[in-house]
């Protein structure tokens, strides 16, 4: 999975969670300040990515710094394990 795939998956997840179309995300977009996610919607986004790209969430690895911007979150997903998901 490359960076662009992750960003696309993230856009889809946010579109679902926030119930409005989220497209054209750039790396510097801030998840809280710009997209207005809160602690609940942030978790929903992770749940969504568990299902869509098989993101394996280990709560011990989740760091507040990973959730700052689209870039930091993409880095986190790229470093995380992914499991096979049924297409």
């Amino acid at each position: 999975m490359d960076r662009q795939n992750v960003v696309t998956a993230l856009e889809n997840a946010l579109t679902d969670v926030l119930e409005r179309s989220v497209t054209g995300l750039t790396g510097d977009v801030k998840l809280f300040d710009d997209l207005h996610l809160d602690s609940t919607t942030m978790l929903e986004m992770l749940m969504n990515l568990e299902d869509s790209i098989g993101l394996v969430v280990d709560p011990e690895d989740l760091d507040a710094d990973d959730f700052l911007s689209v870039d930091t979150f993409t880095d986190f997903v790229l470093s995380a394990q992914l499991r096979e998901v049924a297409a």
Partner: protein, 510 residues
């Protein structure tokens, strides 16, 4: 022997005398001891006095910096001024409403945009960052003595804006005495210890968040303020790093923790107490937490801003009294009245009424509403008509069945949405549930987050409540929309379901 504080800031001053070098507050790498906090708040008071804040004046704060808010709250108390802490997102029309309603002397925020509101209303606007920096920098110096302030214990100290039966939010006024009584009674039930680390995942604009500051001062515990990011997905790790022993929560926080613990039990061996307020915890969340954290005790609670807290469950009392929200605070009474105001015997559903020193002063500049909700028994003694319905058992345990607006009629029965939701969450596989009462032609509808099908949920509920109480339709969702206080946002939910229904009918599916 511990002296009893008469004024809110004396809580802090006494803690600073007892344990000056203990950490009082920490957040994101910064921390303050009790002595430092007391000293900085005295400097903050001097500064606010310079800016024109006097006894009886109001100060409105809308910011996210918890340490700054704490300094401002204690500073206002020292001056005999009245603080109102609003959620950091209160802007535009809602902020205008508050400013017009309480006519503050000062408006404090971290957002320059708020300065425009201040200008329009000819108020002094102050940046919280600058205030905090100067209060902390001045710490080494001696705070100038303020003359002619000395508030009384019966003076107001806080305004808490709540929405409810009125179209626009109104402010609940609390005196020093009332806040101290409520905080002390809560501490008697929860027993925070000097070696506790209380992890607050809630903003201090939420009154249970703010009371953590007072509970920590009473016990000498350290209060760690989690940021909105830390209290999200990194919650488990953030609790671990902080060394948290106590987690004051709302259902969305407990649900989040249970979700994370299912993926990794972690090392939360220190977490000894979870409290819950706002709405009932689902049984599945409680059992998931207990399974993952055997040392954890749970205390569920019930209350409303008008008396801060009405009832608290003894530790793990939910196991022996399932469905109860606790027993009245020590030194207070909660009883149940019928439609004519008569007291009802145990077991009968009616309105909860609270008596005791936790009953707050009333609504700011709303004498009629105050008279209605805080009527005086025998024309003398104020008691609080909560607008909440439920019953009490023979031992005095309270069982909440719903807000007045949670009750609805369907097929001739008077039903409680809260009760139906509780039954749904008792079904294995259901994480959370919310009922939309009937509206127009639409029958009552149940929305759930569940691992099982909608039909299985409705079937499973037969075990827990009478069939006539079970809504005919059930919809599965990925998550229930919640508002800033962690309560289900029914308006948002109705919109969501409306959209889902429209989408499925346009594709021909049902």
């Amino acid at each position: 022997m511990t002296r009893t504080a008469q004024l809110l800031h004396e809580l802090l001053d006494h803690a600073a005398e007892r344990t000056p070098h203990s950490v009082a507050l920490s957040s994101q790498g910064s921390s303050l001891t009790y002595a430092e906090l007391a000293d900085a708040s005295a400097h903050m008071a001097a500064r606010l006095h310079q800016e024109g804040l006097r006894r009886g004046d109001r100060m409105v704060v809308t910011a996210s910096d918890g340490i700054g808010i704490t300094l401002l709250v204690y500073a206002a108390s020292r001056l005999g001024a009245v603080f109102s802490v609003l959620h950091e997102q209160v802007r535009g029309a809602p902020l205008e409403h508050v400013v017009k309603d309480c006519e503050p002397e000062l408006l404090v925020s971290d957002d320059p945009e708020v300065a425009h509101t201040a200008v329009r209303h000819e108020l002094t606007f102050l940046r919280i960052e600058e205030l905090v920096r100067s209060a902390l920098d001045a710490r080494s110096g001696t705070a100038p003595l303020l003359e002619d302030v000395g508030p009384l214990a019966v003076d107001p100290v806080s305004l808490i804006y709540t929405s409810g039966t009125t179209a626009l939010p109104k402010a609940v006024v609390s005196t020093h005495q009332q806040v101290l009584f409520a905080a002390t009674a809560i501490q008697t039930c929860l027993q925070y210890r000097a070696d506790d680390v209380v992890y607050c995942p809630l903003p201090l604009s939420f009154d249970y968040g703010l009371y953590q500051v007072f509970l920590a001062a009473l016990s000498g515990a350290r209060l760690h303020l989690g940021t909105v990011v830390e209290a999200g997905p990194p919650l488990l790790r953030s609790l671990e790093t902080a060394g948290a022993t106590v987690l004051p929560g709302v259902p969305s926080v407990a649900d989040r923790l249970a979700w994370l613990l299912r993926r990794n039990a972690g090392k939360l061996s220190k977490l000894r107490l979870l409290t819950n307020t706002g709405a009932a915890l689902s049984d599945s969340t409680m059992s998931a937490l207990r399974e993952a954290l055997p040392q954890l005790r749970v205390q569920v609670m019930y209350g409303l801003t008008e008396c801060k807290r009405a009832a608290i469950m003894p530790p793990d009392g939910d196991l022996t009294h399932p469905g109860s929200c606790g027993i009245p605070l020590p030194g207070t009474e909660v009883f149940v009245i019928g439609d004519d105001g008569e007291r009802l015997p145990p077991g009968e559903i009616g309105q909860f009424v609270v008596r005791g020193a936790n009953v707050m002063a009333g609504y700011w500049r709303r004498p009629e509403l105050t008279a209605e909700r805080f009527p005086r028994a025998e024309g003398l003694f104020p008691e609080l008509r909560t607008g909440d319905y439920g019953w009490q058992d023979k031992e005095g345990y309270l069982y909440f069945s719903g807000r007045r607006d949670d009750l609805y009629k369907e097929r001739g029965f008077r039903l409680s949405a809260t009760e139906v939701e509780a039954a749904a969450t008792r079904v294995d596989g259901v994480t959370s549930a919310a009922v939309l009462p009937p509206e127009g032609k639409r029958a009552a509808l149940l929305a759930v987050v569940a691992d099982i099908t909608a039909d299985e949920v409705l079937d499973g509920m037969q075990e827990h409540i009478e069939p006539f109480k079970i809504p005919r339709r059930c919809v599965r969702l990925d998550a229930l929309p919640v508002n800033g206080n962690g309560k289900v946002d029914r308006k948002e939910l109705a919109a969501l379901i409306g959209k889902a229904t429209a989408a499925s009918s346009s594709t021909g599916a049902l």
